[in-house]
Symmetry: C2
Subunit: 744 residues, 2 copies
C-alpha cells in the first residue's frame, strides 16, 4: 500500500537502490538522491535526548521573558553553542514596546469584600517556582492602563457569538466589567469584542472545565493548572498586525521612526487582567440573573449566572510602557550551489516565565538539530542552498522578534526565501503540521522517513492511522484515497506569521503531541523543568524526533536540485476553500430565511416564558446572490495549470534549468495583494489569515470570507474578485514555470 | 395554514357551524359533534387552579408511600371526593411485596475512614421536610440484602456501553463495588449490568452535573437537588416484568399463589444503595487509575478517575421483605350507549415521600378533571362509553397498583378497553405526549382545542412551534409537511405499561413541562408542597391545562359514534421502525467492517501509548444479511390496508355499524404475541417495549431489534418473522374493518 502510494506521488523522482531498497526523492537527480539519503540517515543518528534535556535544563533555569537578564543570557549562550557546532551565529538585536505591570488590583466591593491575590504561589517540590524576584507577575501584555469600578457580566468565552446569545437573553455589557473564561478564541479577542460592545473592563480566568481538574489532577499531583495558576499572555490586537506596535511594517531597529503610543491601534481599548479560578470564584458567585446556557457552564461547583452582579468589581492596572531589547539569535550555513536561496528554520527562545514547555521543548530540540547539521558539516556535507537557523526573542508578547526581523529583511527575504519551517512547544505523541499546500507532499515525504520512538512505525504512518481512527466516514475515505495526509492552513499563534501572511513565504508549523495531558501550565510559573520532566516528554525522545524531522526537512529542501513543491495539492486545497466560502453564503441565506419564517410562524411567541426573559430576533434581509464567477474561473485555470506543471515536472524535472527555482520561490508570493486585507493592510496573503475575530484560528480566503461573515455585501464581490486575481496569478506563474520546464 | 390542515385530516368528519365557527369531529355524526363541542367547552370552564393546588396541599401534607398510614388516608379521601362529585368510586385493594430498609451502611475503610450519612436533612423554610418519623429512608427498593467489602470502580452511568469502554481501558469490575451516577439509563439497569459483569455491590449517586448545581441553584435557594439530596427509587428488573414480583401475570389479590422469594427473578443480584453527592465525594476521591473519558466526567471539583480504589468500601443493606396493601382508587361513569366499551384514565397517588411533583401534580389535576365530569353529569351529560378514573397505588416501587389491577381484570379489559390515558408528574410549559399511533390524530385534534395559559395560543400550536425551533432541518420539514405532530412510542416509567405492553390497549402518556428547571427533587424528601409552589407550576395553571386536556380526551373518546382511530399514522410510524431496524444491521455491519479494517491497518497499534493502557479490540465476524422480506411484505400490506380503511372511513363513517367499534378495539391487541418477547414473556406487544438494557427508553420492534443488537443472529430471522406476523394481523384486521365499513 505504502509503496503504491510512493509510486503514484513521486512520478518526477527517479528510483534506484540504496542498501538494496528503492529510494526516490522528488526534485533530486539520481546521484544526488542517493547521497542525500545517506547524509540524512547520518544526520538522524546524531540528536541525543540527553542533550535536548540538558538544553532545556540550562535555558529554563531562570525566568527569561523579554528584557530579563536571563533572556539575554540565553541568547548569548545560544550563540556560543551554535558557534561551537561550527555555525556562523550572531545576535540580531531589535527593540520593541513591551509593557510590564506597575500596579494590579482587582476587588469585589460590597459587604463581603474580596481582593484577588493575583499570585501563583511557590510549590515545595518545584525548585524554580520560588524565583519570585525574576518572575513577571500574572498580567495581559498590551492591556491599556485603567481604573474602573462596575458591575460584572459573565460572557462565556467572549466570542462574538457569545454576545449574540447575551443579546437574546436581554443582557448588555455596556458599562460593565466582563468576566470571560480562557479558551475557544485567542485571548486578545475577548477584550476587543467586549470593548466593541461597550464594556469598560475585562477579566479573563482559567476555568477548571477547560484548564484544571476537569482535565486531570492539579499540579504538582498531576500536570494540570492548580487553583491559583493563572495564564499570562498578550492581548494585543494582533489580527491587525503583530510585532512592535510602534513600527508596523518596518523593522524596529535602533532609531526606527515610532508611532506615538497614543496613536497605536493594537493596544486594548479597555483594561484587562488574567486571574486564576481561585481568584475568580468570588466574582462568579456574585453574579445574579439567569442561569447561563449549558455550553457556557464551567467546572466550578456552583450554578453559573450571567449577571449583572449587584456587587461592584474594581479593576485597576497600570504598566511601565518601556521599549525593551530583543535578542534574535541567527545562525547561517551558506549554500554551495544556490547561496541566494534561503531555507529558514525558527523557534522562539523567550518565555513568559521559565518556559520549559513553551518554548523550550521546541527550542531545545532545534538547538540539538543545529548541532546535528554542524556534525555533518564537519563530515563534509554542504547544502546546495543557504540554511538559516533562528531562535526568536519576544514571541510571547507579540511575535516581536520574528516580525521585526522579517520586516527588517523584507526585501532580501522576498527575493531569497524558499520556505520557513517553524516549531514552538513540543510534546509526546503524534506528528502534526499545518502549512502551505505546495509543501504538503514534501512534508509527507520526510515524515515517512522518521521513526516514531514509541511504536517504531514511521511518524507519517502513525499520524495517518491516528487521524483515521478519529475521522468521520468522509474523512476516512479521504485519508484512504489520498496518497498524502492533508495539511491544514495556518492561522496565527507563532513565528511563521510574518513569513507567511506578510511576505508570502511558503511555511510549515510542526510538532509532536496528543498523548500527554498537555497545556496545563501554559504561560504560568509552573511551566518549568520540574513540570516538564515529570509530566510531558519526560525522556525527550519526542524532542529528538522533532530535531530529526525538522532537520531532515531543512536538509532535503536545501539539497534539492529543483525545489520539490507540488501544485496539484494547492489547487485541490484552494478548491475546498472556494467551496467553503460559497457554502457559507448559502448557509447564511438558508439560516436567515429559516429564522424569518419562524418569526412569521410565531415560533418566538411560542417560546416566550413569563419567568425567563428572551429577546426575539428581528426579520433580516436575505443575503444577495454573489458573483463567484471570477473565483470559479480562476480555480479552473489554476487546476489546469497545476496539473500541467506537475506533469511537466514528472517528465522534465531532471533537466530543469536553474531559472525554474526562482519561479518556484514566487509561488506563495503571488498570493500577496499589496492592498492587504480589509482594515488590516499588514496581512497581504489572500489565501489565509488569522481570523479578525478568532485570532489564532485561520480564515481561508479571508478577504472574501470575512466580508461575507460580516454581511458587508457591497464589498463582498470586490473581495471575491481580488481573491480570484491572486489565484489567477498563481495559475499564470505555473504556466510560465511549465514553459521553463518544457523548454518551450 | 391550520384550517387547511384540519380539512386535510378530518375528511371523515362533518363540518357545520357552532357559534358561527365550523366544527368537525372525527367519528361523530353532525348532531353529536355539535353537542359534544358544547359539552367540552362547558367542561373546560370548570377546572380551577386553586382547587388543584388544594388537592396537592392535602395529599402532600405527609409522606404517603406504599404501606404508610397516609397512603391509605389519601386513598380514602380520594374515594370520598370522587363520590362527592357524583362518581361511583371505590378502593380496589391488592397486596404486593414491598421491601423497606432494616439497616443501611456505607463506609470507606482505610486510614481516612468515612461513613456516609445517608440522610436528607430537614430544611428550615420547608415545613414538611422534618417529618422524619414517616419518611422512608433513602434506599433502592428490591435491592437484595447484602454485606460486601471491596474496592470501588467508577462506571459512569453503568450502561452496557460504559462496560465496553471499561474493557478497552483494561479495567474490570469483577469482585468490585461499582459507583455509578444516576441518569441516562433507568436506575435498575445499573445493578443489573454491574452484576452481569461480576460486581458485588452497586452505589448510585446523584452527580451535580446531571442533577445539582450545574443545572441551577440548590434547594432551597433554587429548585435543584442540594448536596445531601438523594434519589430513592426502584431497582427491580422491570424490563422482565413489573408489578408484584411474586405474582407475575396474575392479579395479587388476597390468597393469590405466590412465587417463593428466593425464586423471584426481578430482585437485584447484588446489594444497591443510592447516595447524595456529598456522601459520594470521599468515595470518588478514593478512586485511582486513569482519568475517565471526557463524557464520563461529572460536576464535582476534582479529576474523575476510573479506579479501582486502594481503599476498600463496605456496603451493607438489609430489608424487611413484607407484603403491603395497595389501595387503587377506581371511579366509574357508566356509558349510555356502549357501556361495554371502556375509556380509562389513570395517574398514581403513592409517592416516595411527600411527592408534590411526583405524582401529585398529575393526580391533583386528574381529581379536578373528575370533578369537572361530575359537574357535567349533574347538568345532564351522559357519555356514550363507560369512563373509568383510576388513582393507582404503588407506582413508585414497581407500577404495582396498575399492573395488579390490569392483571386481575385482564379478561374484561381485553374485551372492553378502548384506550388508556395516563399522566404522572406535571409541570409548566409545553404539551407532550407519547403513545399508540392510532391515537395520534385524536391527540392532535384535542390539543388544538386547549388554550395555553401563558401564550394564549393553542397548546397544539405551541407544541408544534417549539418542536420546530428545536428540530433538525429534516425534522422541520416533517413538522411543516405533516398535518399532525408525531407521537413517539412508549417505553416504560409509568402506569401505562401493563395496559400497552401486557394487554395491547391503545395508550397515551401526557403532560406539560419544559419551562422549569424540573426534576431537581425527584424522589427526594424535598419534592413537597413548599418546593412545588416555589419553583414549578406555582399558580397551577398547567395543572388546570392538564385537567382540561385529559378530560377533553376522555369525553371525546367516550362520546364518539365511531372510535376515531386513524391508521395511516400507524403504517407511517411502523415503517420508520422497520427502516430503523434495517439501518441498524447495516450500521452494525459497516462499523464492524471498519473496525476490522482498522485493526488490520494497524490503527490500534498506532494508538498504543506506553503511559496509558488500552486493550485493542479483536477482529469480529460480520453480521449476516438477514431476511427482512416478511417485514417488508407486511408493511406493504399494512400500508395498503390502512389507506383503504382511512378512505372507507372518510366515505362511510357516519353509517358505520356498531360492530366496527369492536373491531377497532382490537387494533392494538393484534400486536400482541402470546409468546412474548425473548426472555420476557410478560411483554407481549411486538411493536414496542421498554429496552431490556434501557429500562425507561423504548425499543421499537423489540423482539427483532434487541436480538440484532445483542448479535443473536440465529434468532434474528425468527423474531423478524414474528414481528412481521403481528404487522400482518393488523393489516388483516383493517381489511376486515374496511369491509364492515363498506358493508361488503
Amino acid at each position: 500500500m505504502r509503496r503504491a502510494i510512493a509510486c503514484f506521488t513521486l512520478l518526477a523522482s527517479t528510483a534506484y537502490a540504496v542498501d538494496n531498497a528503492v529510494v526516490t526523492l522528488r526534485g533530486y537527480t539520481p546521484e544526488h538522491a542517493a547521497a542525500e539519503v545517506q547524509w540524512e540517515q547520518k544526520f538522524r543518528g546524531i540528536p541525543d535526548p540527553a542533550k535536548v534535556r540538558e538544553n532545556m535544563r540550562r535555558m529554563s533555569a531562570r525566568p527569561h521573558h523579554v528584557g530579563s537578564p536571563y533572556d539575554k543570557d540565553n541568547a548569548e549562550w545560544l550563540v556560543a553553542q551554535l558557534k561551537s557546532y561550527g555555525l556562523d551565529a550572531k545576535i540580531e538585536q531589535f527593540e520593541a514596546l513591551f509593557p510590564t505591570p506597575k500596579s494590579r488590583k482587582l476587588e469585589l466591593l460590597g459587604p463581603e469584600k474580596f481582593e484577588a491575590t493575583l499570585e501563583e504561589p511557590a510549590i515545595k517540590v518545584d525548585p524554580t517556582s520560588d524565583q519570585k524576584k525574576e518572575q513577571l507577575p500574572t498580567y495581559n501584555a498590551y492591556s491599556r492602563d485603567g481604573d474602573v469600578t462596575a458591575p460584572l457580566v459573565y460572557v462565556n468565552y467572549g466570542a462574538p457569538a457569545d454576545y449574540e446569545e447575551l443579546a437574546a437573553m436581554g443582557v448588555s455589557v455596556k458599562g460593565a466589567i466582563v468576566i470571560a473564561r480562557y479558551g475557544q478564541t485567542w485571548r486578545g479577542i475577548k477584550p476587543k469584542v467586549a470593548a466593541e460592545h461597550g464594556a469598560v473592563g475585562c477579566i479573563i480566568y482559567s476555568d477548571p472545565r477547560d484548564d484544571g481538574y476537569f482535565r486531570g489532577d492539579g499540579y504538582p499531583d498531576g500536570p494540570m493548572r492548580p487553583a491559583e495558576g493563572a495564564q499570562r499572555g498578550s492581548v494585543m490586537d494582533m489580527p491587525v498586525y503583530p510585532g512592535d506596535p510602534q513600527t508596523p511594517g518596518i523593522g524596529a531597529v535602533t532609531n526606527a521612526k515610532l508611532i506615538p503610543l497614543d496613536q497605536v491601534q493594537t493596544i486594548t481599548k479597555i483594561p484587562v487582567l488574567p486571574i486564576s479560578y481561585a481568584d475568580a470564584t468570588p466574582f462568579l458567585k456574585a453574579l445574579r440573573g439567569e442561569l447561563v446556557p449549558e455550553s457556557w457552564r464551567g467546572g466550578l461547583p456552583f450554578a453559573y449566572k450571567v449577571g449583572p452582579s449587584i456587587a461592584m468589581a474594581h479593576l485597576a492596572v497600570s504598566f511601565n510602557w518601556d521599549r525593551k531589547p530583543l535578542y534574535n539569535v541567527v545562525a547561517t550555513i551558506p549554500g554551495s550551489t544556490f547561496p541566494d536561496q534561503w531555507v529558514i528554520r525558527g523557534n522562539h527562545h523567550d518565555a513568559w516565565v521559565n518556559g520549559a514547555g513553551d518554548p523550550l521543548s521546541g527550542a531545545s530540540a532545534q538547538l540539538e538539530e543545529a548541532r546535528g547539521l554542524g556534525e555533518l558539516l564537519k563530515q563534509g556535507w554542504h547544502p546546495q542552498r543557504t540554511i538559516i537557523y533562528c531562535f526568536w526573542d519576544g514571541e510571547e508578547p507579540a511575535l516581536l522578534g520574528s516580525t521585526e526581523w522579517v520586516e527588517a529583511h523584507a526585501g532580501e527575504l522576498s527575493q531569497h526565501a524558499v520556505a520557513y519551517f517553524n516549531s514552538d512547544g513540543n510534546g509526546r505523541g503524534y506528528f502534526r503540521a499545518e502549512g502551505s499546500s505546495e509543501l504538503e507532499n514534501f512534508v509527507n515525504s520526510v515524515t515517512k522517513d522518521i521513526d516514531d520512538p514509541e511504536t517504531k512505525m514511521s511518524v507519517w504512518k502513525r499520524q495517518r492511522l491516528v487521524a483515521l481512527s478519529r475521522a468521520t466516514t468522509d474523512g476516512k475515505a479521504e485519508l484512504r484515497n489520498r496518497p498524502d495526509i492533508r495539511m491544514e492552513a495556518l492561522g496565527s499563534g507563532s513565528d511563521y506569521t510574518a513569513f507567511l501572511h506578510h511576505l508570502g513565504i511558503a511555511s510549515v508549523n510542526m510538532g509532536y503531541g496528543g498523548e500527554d495531558q498537555g497545556g496545563g501550565q501554559y504561560h504560568s510559573t509552573y511551566d518549568d523543568f520540574y513540570w516538564y520532566t515529570h509530566f510531558q516528554d519526560t525522556d525527550f525522545v519526542y524532542g529528538r524526533a522533532l530535531a530529526q524531522t525538522a532537520g531532515t526537512m531543512m536538509m532535503r529542501m536545501a539539497d534539492a536540485d529543483v525545489i520539490p513543491f507540488q501544485f496539484g495539492d494547492v489547487a485541490d486545497r484552494l478548491r475546498t476553500y472556494v467551496t467553503g466560502v460559497k457554502k457559507l453564503t448559502d448557509t447564511m441565506r438558508a439560516e436567515i430565511k429559516e429564522r424569518n419564517t419562524e418569526i412569521a410562524d410565531g415560533v418566538y411567541k411560542a417560546l416566550e416564558d413569563p419567568k425567563r426573559k428572551r429577546i426575539a430576533p428581528e426579520v433580516e434581509a436575505l443575503p444577495p446572490y454573489l458573483n463567484f464567477a471570477p473565483l470559479d474561473q480562476a480555480m479552473d485555470d489554476l487546476t489546469t495549470a497545476a496539473s500541467e506543471y506537475d506533469k511537466a515536472f514528472a517528465a522534465n524535472a531532471l533537466k530543469a534549468p536553474p531559472a525554474l527555482n526562482l519561479q518556484l520561490i514566487q509561488s506563495e508570493r503571488v498570493f500577496l495583494d499589496a492592498g492587504g486585507l480589509p482594515n488590516r493592510p499588514w496581512f497581504q496573503n489572500m489565501m489565509y489569515a488569522p481570523g479578525f475575530y478568532t485570532g489564532y484560528g485561520v480564515k481561508t480566503l479571508p478577504a472574501a470570507r470575512e466580508t461575507i461573515e460580516q454581511k458587508q455585501w457591497k464589498d463582498a464581490e470586490t473581495q471575491i474578485a481580488r481573491t480570484a486575481a491572486a489565484v489567477e496569478r498563481e495559475a499564470t506563474l505555473l504556466k510560465s514555470a511549465t514553459l521553463t520546464l518544457t523548454g518551450k
